[in-house]
Amino acid sequence: MEARRTSRHPIDPKVRQVGFFATGALRDCSQSGPLELSSSPPVSNISPTRNSISPVMIPPPRQSSDTFVLSRPLAVPHLVSPLRPPVVEDRMVVGSFDASEYLLGTSASSRIVDAEFSEDSSVLFRWSGSGKLSSSLPSVGFDLTAMKSNPPALAPAAIKPAAMIEKSGGAVAKIPSELPTSSKPLREKTTKAERRALQESQRAAKAASKAGGNKPSAASGVATPMKEKASKAVKQVPSSVATSEKKGGERNPEKDKKKDIPHPRMQFDDLNRVEKAKRRAVVKQTEARNRVELFRHLPQYEYGTHFPKLESKFFQLDPVHPAVQKVGLQYLAGDIVGGNARCIAMLQAFKEAIKDYSTPPEKTLARDLTAKIGSYVSFLIECRPLSISMGNSIRFLKTRIAKLPLTVSESEAKEELYTDIDCFINDKIVLADKVIVNNAATKIRDGDVLLTYGCSCVVEMTMLYAHELGKQFRVVVIDSHPKFEGKALLRRLVAKGLSCSYTHINAVSYIMHEVTRVFLGAASILSNGTVYSRVGTACVAMVAHAFRVPVLICCEAYKFHERVQLDSICSNELGDPDLISKVAGRADVNYLDNWHEKENLELLNLIYDATPSDYVSIVITDYGMVPPTSVPVIVRDYRQHLWI
């Protein structure tokens, strides 16, 4: 953890260039949060800055770094009318409950809600940097002790500001000014030169640790983002306590380097590899017939046959933990859909699995557990290809496991992993959603007609929140065969009293005349700005673009991915083609009942598509509202400072 924070120094100037997302601020806050809150009643865990809606996305330049005092009045102003704050506060609480409801989907448990309010203090400390002591940074060590001395009772509340600050540069500016005693200002004052020197020394240490490392260029000043990541991983080598961990430390850099460039995905038209994969597979799956030629590189199996086989093996498969198995089957059956819900369900299952895990003799926890998780993941992949959000969170978890110091006992390590997972769910999904909802609601004005496609939980929360704020607007829900996810969304919106229109995707250019905003969710945003989302999103965004209607994409930053993609074909997921031949509720559409017998007929059920970035007006993330061109910047910094 500490290593992560120090490593930010080399690129601090770059962060400042980006301006509107306040990484530095986040750090400040997470450390100083408890102090700040101690001066205010802990009950009001929503600070007034939370309501300051407008200045969120474009804070005045350099606000976060220099002009604290100046920026403060800027941040709080207009919207904090005497009447508003209490109202909004109420709503927010409501919103938070909603959030977890949606996210959990069918597998709802109260876990997340709990996590939000009653997280034990270690969560906070974990996130705010208690992980490992970096011996190379005395100031950090001091910082850490300061943190630890805080009463744990304040911790739950402190999580909130952390998220808040992600959203608002204004809040950031405020906190340090209240914290003259914190170690933070000291750190702030370190000059560029100092930081540079620090960086150089770390690099040197890293290079040494690599024992004639393979990449000398990594030590040079011109560090590409990927190399920097590698350097970070190595940095923990000197910082970790025992020399015995050296081994683990050496293992990491290579691994991380490999991870830097996203793996070329499994190409299922490569027969050799498919054979190999089949031998490993838990369940023999029958390949679907009549496959679409263009999509040979993606896996597609007979859906009906797969499910009972897996079910029958439920008790025989000892390598897979029952909780994971349950989640896998839920994916397969389509009970859990949506990037967030799937991700949370998976993480919860992993938590269960970790709880029941015990390190076998002669093995180390870090290695064995990683392997275990790996096998779970491959099981889940067999059930349904991973979403990018899941991939990212698995990566997070694995890094966490790899970073566990060897000295900690197993129970401690497990405890840490729990809190890590909870923290991830809480910070990266639940709170991120809240921030997004707050941001997005500022984009809704009275009299607007909002259009949305499919069923994105963030968009839904945004609309409900705006409705609760008393904004007058209308919603157009666009839906498409075969999933008809919009119906569920429509039902919930109508039940809440929103005025809605409903139509199918073909009519989108008919309805677009009356629309003033298009809100879309996303499964991922790739680093070339391409929005990877439910199939049809691209069509909607394209038509909106043609009709000059702004397109707002709501997506949590943990779903961003450094991969690039130009079309929807190279990487995608294939759904069950049988779903296409039938239409729910339309018995008259039965022309293709026995389509399998037809030699020349293929049915294609794509799950995702890629929306070019030029159709996207704005991306609303937990870091604020950014243009799609800023996505790679967030991807880079996000990975660097918050994950590894």
Binding site: P482, L490, I511, D567, I580, Y591, D609
Partner: protein, 417 residues
């Protein structure tokens, strides 16, 4: 006559209830109905063409009003009107030519007409040219009566003949009607064979190993693709379903039955797939004079996607789909909203609708339009029975089939008899 009236009414009811659907079917039925109207219509001695035109207009007005969105009805009414005018004109010119030949010898001419015949024949011919033929440089240069005088002059032509050639009046009456019915038969023939003529051009457009995308089901498209297949071209077809009617399923089935390699995709996957498509071939509901297309719903989206990826967007349309009108706000005015039950069951949302509270307006609207408007700039090519045309050329092509007088069928007051 009563049976004709009954036929007309029956057809009107069918149109109103949307029992007749599909522009080809409608066009054919309309033409057949008009043919029987013509054959039953009693024509007066003088001004037969005028009487027929008036009768046509009276019927046509009702038919168009029955289903204003089905532009094929109006097209056929105008086409028949045009045929009447043309046949009348050709008879007139023939008669005038005969008159000219006999003018020297014939002494039956009245005094007032004496100095006119040649001039009036020329006037009639010129007037007819300017009515029926689209404007050309020649007609512009000929300083001849303007279009306001056309109906008069043509009818006066008829009058003069009526007076001059009383001998073969009855035969001429029969001949006019006969010719008109003949021409309408030809029109019906054209309508039913337009597929073949369009699909003959298929090989020129579909190349080996191409990937074609289409949406929904159009018989013209089906024939077109099959014609290319029969000419030994092997290619692949992506068919988008065309919600909410899912006629794409039918098309896919038909294409597979003809041995074409077919892939059925969802409408939402159109954008995803279009980057691998070489050509989009679709049918149309109607083609407007500006080159815009009234098409089944969803095609505007496809056209935009095609434009984005520079994929040619080809529209197949028989000449009966060419409409001489210029569209204004066609997405709304030339559209039709279908039953919401195609999208949502009526009962499905009854539980969350609260009719007791609020201001009475329902919270939920279900929109199910039938057509899309594809602006001309998104269309790469029209393929009609007469060949391929640019969208910008459509007005000119359309002028060949309609006369300018008939563009507004409704507004003209029923006059004369």
């Amino acid at each position: 006559m009563p049976d004709i009236q009954a036929l007309v009414n029956e057809f009107i009811i069918k149109l109103k209830k949307r029992k007749v659907e599909g522009s080809q079917e409608t066009a054919k039925l309309t033409a057949e109905l008009l043919r029987s109207v013509i054959s039953q219509q009693r024509v007066p001695y003088n001004n037969q063409a005028g009487a027929l035109i008036d009768a046509m207009k009276a019927v046509g007005e009702k038919l168009i009003a029955a289903n204003p969105v089905e532009l094929a009805v109006g097209n056929i009414v105008r086409r028949v009107l045009h045929i009447i005018r043309e046949e009348d004109l050709s008879l007139t010119t023939a008669a005038v030519a005969g008159l000219n030949l006999s003018a020297v010898s014939d002494d039956e001419d009245d005094g007032e007409q004496e100095d006119h015949p040649v001039l009036s024949a020329a006037a009639v011919a010129a007037a007819a040219r300017s009515t029926l033929r689209p404007p050309s440089l020649q007609t512009l240069l000929e300083d001849m009566p303007d279009s306001a005088a056309i109906p008069q002059s043509s009818s006066s032509g008829g009058d003069s003949e009526g007076k001059s050639k009383s001998a073969d009046k009855s035969s001429r009456t029969r001949r006019l009607k006969h010719d008109i019915i003949e021409a309408v038969n030809e029109l019906i023939q054209d309508i039913s064979t337009c597929h073949e003529q369009i699909s003959e051009q298929a090989v020129e457009h579909i190349h080996q190993n191409e990937v074609i995308l289409t949406l929904g089901r159009s018989r013209t498209v089906m024939e077109f693709l099959c014609a290319a297949k029969e000419k030994k071209r092997s290619f692949r077809v992506f068919v988008a379903e065309g919600a909410p009617r899912y006629q794409g399923h039918v098309l896919a089935k038909e294409l597979v039955a003809r041995g074409l390699q077919t892939t059925l995709i969802t409408d939402s996957a159109v954008f995803a797939m279009i980057s691998r498509v070489n050509m989009v071939i679709v049918g149309a509901h109607a083609v407007m004079a500006n080159g815009g297309v009234i098409a089944p719903v969803g095609l505007n989206m496809v056209a935009l996607a095609a434009q984005r990826h520079a994929v040619p967007f080809v529209v197949l349309a028989g000449t009966h789909k060419l409409c001489p009108l210029y569209p204004h706000n066609p997405e709304v005015l030339l559209n039709e909203l279908k039953s919401p039950s195609e999208l949502l069951d009526f009962g499905e949302f009854s539980d969350c609708m609260d009719f007791g509270s609020g201001n009475g307006s329902p919270l939920l609207h279900v929109v199910n339009p039938a057509f899309d408007y594809v602006p001309p700039k998104l269309v790469s090519l029209f393929i009609t029975d007469t060949g391929g045309h640019n969208p910008s050329y459509m007005y000119r092509l359309i002028a060949d089939y309609y006369s300018a007088d008939d563009l507004v069928v409704q507004r003209r007051p029923v006059s004369g008899n």
